[in-house]
């Protein structure tokens, strides 16, 4: 029996500024210690200035995860000394004086499995420690650019029973963050996690420092295997904190002497309690993007998109936004197909997505042309490739690449007659079994590189072999 609880840390990378000062929230791309100010460096006399959007983003995440949002939000100080913590305390949230963290209990459904959420809190990220040199001459350096980046922490109940459930859960979270537009989970270090793992009702081991969702599943897998191996040999599993070594992909015991931790939590007096007025809740509800499950349902029932296609399409904000913008009802199914079978293969990385020049208009024109028989599906795929690359419009692409369907009967007939002459065996078969007609039509399509109008071709083939 496996029990796993998670603490997920998610940076609100889409914000402009840090949680408590006006330095940039997304510190990536700055030179060392260039994204700092007196506030995030904790200089004497500086005071925190809470970011309104960060509070609203965190509340939106809480609401999307079915959590209760309290009437008042309070911040606390977690006191401990560490070089990456400029004030030697972290401003975070707790529920000492009643529920005051941004999200109360909630849940996420993995199919029929329910994962309970204890709370959601908004806090500041610490700076980054860099170790330079050999272990003998190790120099500890600190870059504070990250210090103060808004971080949402999601604390789950120990409800996970397998690494696979963890994967499903973090996939749902990633999609949700992206759908809400609060974070970009693909950025390095934007999603981090700690895990508590125990097996067979044994001692709990805490794994810290897991730097990505990808590694989280691996770390859980490694740790379960390690504990199972100890258990099978009747060896004791120590209650301890282990670190995830992302180079070697293993967990290691943190040897540092465990100081009896006493964080002396108390209220951050520099930030008054924030009243969550009803107006704000209403505003957030109306601003909240449609949830993924609601989108999926709508695509199936209102737009006739097949279940599996709707599943793929709704879970990714980039594609679902494109879909919503381009579809006009009758072409929805065709656009959904274009996106899921062709476009997703063309822009399968973050870089390609950013570089892509394809627009909703492109997709709409392409789908409408397919439906009107002006372009074949295989030509459409070539056209899409060109649109992603150059952003040229459909007419231009079709004429430059000569992709339009050939509907001139005499031209098609020439090809049909040639194929019939070359394939006597297939002609025989087609006369007995109409299904074999498709083979001949396919040959014509191949020679015309898919441009022959399929309906015209079929009727011409039938005519040529007298069926």
């Amino acid at each position: 029996m496996i029990k796993i609880g998670l603490e997920i840390h998610c940076q609100l990378t889409n914000l402009e500024s840090k949680l408590l000062c006006t330095c940039k929230a997304d510190y990536r791309g700055f030179g060392t210690n260039e994204n700092i100010c007196p506030v995030c460096m904790g200089l004497p006399g500086s005071l925190p200035r809470l970011n309104r959007e960060a509070v609203k983003n965190a509340m939106m995440i809480a609401m999307a995860l079915n959590c209760t949002v309290p009437e008042k939000i309070a911040f606390f100080r977690k006191n401990y000394f560490y070089p990456d913590l400029p004030k030697n305390f972290q401003i975070t949230q707790l529920n000492i004086y009643g529920p005051t963290s941004v999200g109360g209990p909630g849940y996420v459904m993995l199919g029929k499995k329910k994962i309970g959420l204890l709370r959601i809190q908004l806090e500041e990220d610490p700076g980054r420690i860099i170790y330079e040199g050999t272990s003998k001459n190790m120099v500890t350096l600190v870059d504070y650019n990250r210090a103060g980046t808004p971080l949402v922490e999601i604390v789950t109940e120990p409800d996970f029973e397998s690494p696979r459930q963890i994967r499903e859960f973090v996939n749902i979270l990633s999609d949700l963050f992206e759908n809400l537009g609060v974070a970009d989970p693909s950025l390095e270090g934007a999603m981090r996690a700690d895990a508590n793992i125990s097996i067979h009702g044994g001692k709990r081991v805490e794994i810290k420092n897991i730097g990505s969702f990808h590694d989280l599943e691996k770390a859980a897998h490694f740790e379960i295997t390690r504990q199972e191996s100890l258990h099978s040999r009747d060896m004791e599993i120590a209650q301890e904190t282990r670190h995830w070594d992302d180079q070697r992909k293993i967990t290691t015991s943190s040897r540092s002497k465990e100081e009896a931790l006493d964080y002396r939590y108390f209220l951050e007096g520099d930030i008054p309690w924030v009243r969550v007025e009803q107006d704000l809740m209403d505003e957030l509800r109306s601003e909240m993007p449609e949830s993924i499950s609601s989108k999926r349902g709508r695509y199936v029932s209102e737009l006739g998109v097949p279940d599996q296609v709707a599943d793929v399409l709704s879970s990714d904000k980039f594609y679902s936004d494109l879909f919503e913008k381009s579809q006009t009802g009758s072409n929805a199914k065709e656009i959904a197909n274009l996106i899921t079978t062709d476009l997703m293969g063309l822009v399968d990385t973050r870089e390609k997505r950013t570089a892509s020049k394809v627009t909703a208009t492109h997709l709409r024109d392409l789908a409408d042309s397919i439906l009107a028989g002006r372009i074949s599906r295989s030509s459409a795929k070539d056209a899409l490739y060109e649109m992603v690359k150059s952003g040229k419009d459909l007419d231009q692409v079709v004429s430059e690449m000569d992709l339009g369907n050939v509907s001139d009967e005499s031209e098609i007939e020439k090809v049909v007659l040639a194929v019939v002459a070359k394939e006597p065996l297939a002609v025989e078969q087609a006369r007995e079994d109409p299904k074999a007609l498709n083979y001949l039509v396919g040959k014509v399509m191949k020679i015309t590189r898919g441009k022959a109008d399929p309906q015209i071709t079929m009727s011409l083939v039938k005519k040529a072999i007298n069926v």
Binding site: G42, R49, L267
Partner: protein
């Protein structure tokens, strides 16, 4: 050059051409050079202040508009940040620290053409009420240099009293502006919590402290408050709704109801202070106010609650001084993190260390319920009691300090007897109310101040009452 004038007299003189800002500031600096050896109010003096003042004179001669402060020389407690200048908190820990930014109060005074003449002494990190805990030696009371000037803003009060500036900024966590104002016979003001921005004030106990002016007159105090008060986007705890303080200050107190707090005037009050208090009551009644005794039961517990809360907040606020990002010269080579930080922090003085130990103890996992949480509850109940009193009264009166200024060294070794010096002042901090100390009498060479307190955001009414009381007294000049 007559330096013995009020801030408003100075501003008027500069504007009408009878006073040159340059001469006045130069005269002030000369005076500091002469008397500060005895007083030790200053930790740093800005000789460049004369250049600032010369610019003001130039502006006036060329008919340009100048700010309301007209180059008046102001001293600043050394826990308020001035860009490019040392801000030490009177601690060896920050001996070399230069602030890269201005506190909001400093920017606002600068915008009104105030001139800063230097940073003034205090108890280390504002922990104390005699200035004896300064790492750079105590300040001395200009009335009698064997006496303490009070604290923690002792340098501020002494510098105003000794004419080393026309006004000063201090900070008041539990009486740190009012206590030295009372001991040095100047006016000291603690605004409603949130009225003045704390951005750039180095925190001691951030949930209850405020920056406040110290000046020669109540009008000067109101004038300075007009400059520094008001909401600040850099400080989430500042509040909207303040008004103007100097206009209407002569409104008088006829018909006002004044409560005399029995817990602040009874047992333990020095007879000279008690008789001054009775005198103050009869003068207020003479001005048309009615006075009546009121009891605030929680005052008995206020000092214990105050020290519990301040120690907890200080323990956390001072954690940042690990000497990594700023501080003094001490290489990290050869140290492990914790041992380095312990070594670096051994520069804190003994009183700071004592309070830090308290601050680690009272909110810790095993003791928080008994000490810290209870202190917060007392704070809440005291605020309710005071709120109740202000339903009946417009103002509350007590002596600022129940005892006369005492000798340097008299109480330094007895922390608990020092605690009791705070008994009349901490209530305003714990409840967020504004309070003022007005010079009222001098017993021998020992000044006595009267404290008036008003309800939150009633700062204008409080200053009107203080002005009325001030007008009833004529005090001897400081024997400098």
């Amino acid at each position: 050059m007559n330096l013995r004038i009020s801030a408003l007299e100075y501003a008027e003189g500069v504007q009408n051409g009878s006073i040159s800002a340059e001469d006045f500031v130069a005269g002030t600096l000369e005076h500091i050079a002469k008397v500060d050896e005895k007083i030790h109010a200053f930790l740093s003096v800005y000789d460049g202040a004369v250049d600032r003042a010369r610019d003001i004179d130039k502006k006036i001669r060329s008919g340009e508009k100048v700010g309301a402060c007209c180059g008046m020389p102001i001293s600043v407690k050394d826990n308020i940040c001035i860009r490019g200048e040392k801000t030490t908190c009177a601690s060896k820990m920050l001996e070399d620290y230069v602030s890269p930014y201005d506190a909001t109060v400093i920017s606002r005074l600068r915008d009104e053409d105030a001139v800063f003449v230097g940073k003034v002494n205090m108890d280390e990190f504002a922990m104390g009420l005699t200035t004896e805990f300064s790492a750079f030696g105590p300040s001395y009371n200009p009335w009698d240099t064997s006496l303490t000037p009070g604290g923690s803003s002792g340098g501020s009060a002494a510098s105003v009293s000794a004419f080393e500036c026309v006004a000063s900024l201090g900070s008041d966590t539990g009486g740190s502006v009012r206590n030295p104002a009372s001991f040095c016979s100047v006016v000291g003001y603690k605004p409603t919590y949130g009225l003045v921005s704390r951005y750039g004030l180095i925190s001691y106990a951030n949930s209850i402290e405020q920056i406040g002016p110290l000046a020669r007159t109540v009008k000067d105090t109101a004038f300075l408050l007009d400059v520094i008060a008001g909401p600040d986007p850099h400080d989430n705890t500042t509040v909207k709704g303040g008004g103007r303080y100097l206009p209407g200050i002569e409104s008088g107190i006829e018909g006002k109801k004044i409560g005399i707090v029995s817990e602040m005037t009874g047992e333990g009050t020095d007879p000279a202070v008690a008789s001054a208090t009775s005198d103050a009551i009869s003068r207020l009644e003479g001005l048309g106010a009615t006075c009546e005794t009121v009891s605030l039961d929680m005052v008995k517990y206020s000092v214990a609650a105050y020290y519990t809360i301040t120690a907890t907040e200080a323990g956390s606020n001072l954690a940042r001084y690990d000497n990594l990002r700023y501080g003094y010269d001490l290489g990290v080579e050869g140290y492990e993190f914790n041992s380095y930080v312990e070594k670096a922090r051994s520069r804190f003085g003994p009183e700071v260390i004592r309070r830090m130990i308290l601050g680690g103890f009272v909110p810790s996992a095993g003791h928080a319920g008994r000490y810290f949480l209870k202190a917060l509850k007392i704070k809440s109940k005291l605020a309710r009691e005071v709120g109740g009193a202000f339903e009946k009264f417009d103002l509350l009166l007590s002596p600022t300090v129940p005892m006369l200024p005492f000798e340097i060294g008299a109480k330094i070794d007895d922390p608990v007897s020092l605690f009791l010096v705070d008994i009349n002042t901490v209530t305003a901090n714990l409840t967020g109310r504004p309070a003022i100390s007005v010079p009222f009498a001098v017993s021998g060479k020992r000044p006595i101040g009267m404290q008036l307190m008003a309800d939150s955001m009633c700062d204008a009414e409080l200053l009107q009452a203080a002005f009325a009381l001030e007008q009833t007294v004529r005090l001897p000049e400081v024997p400098l």
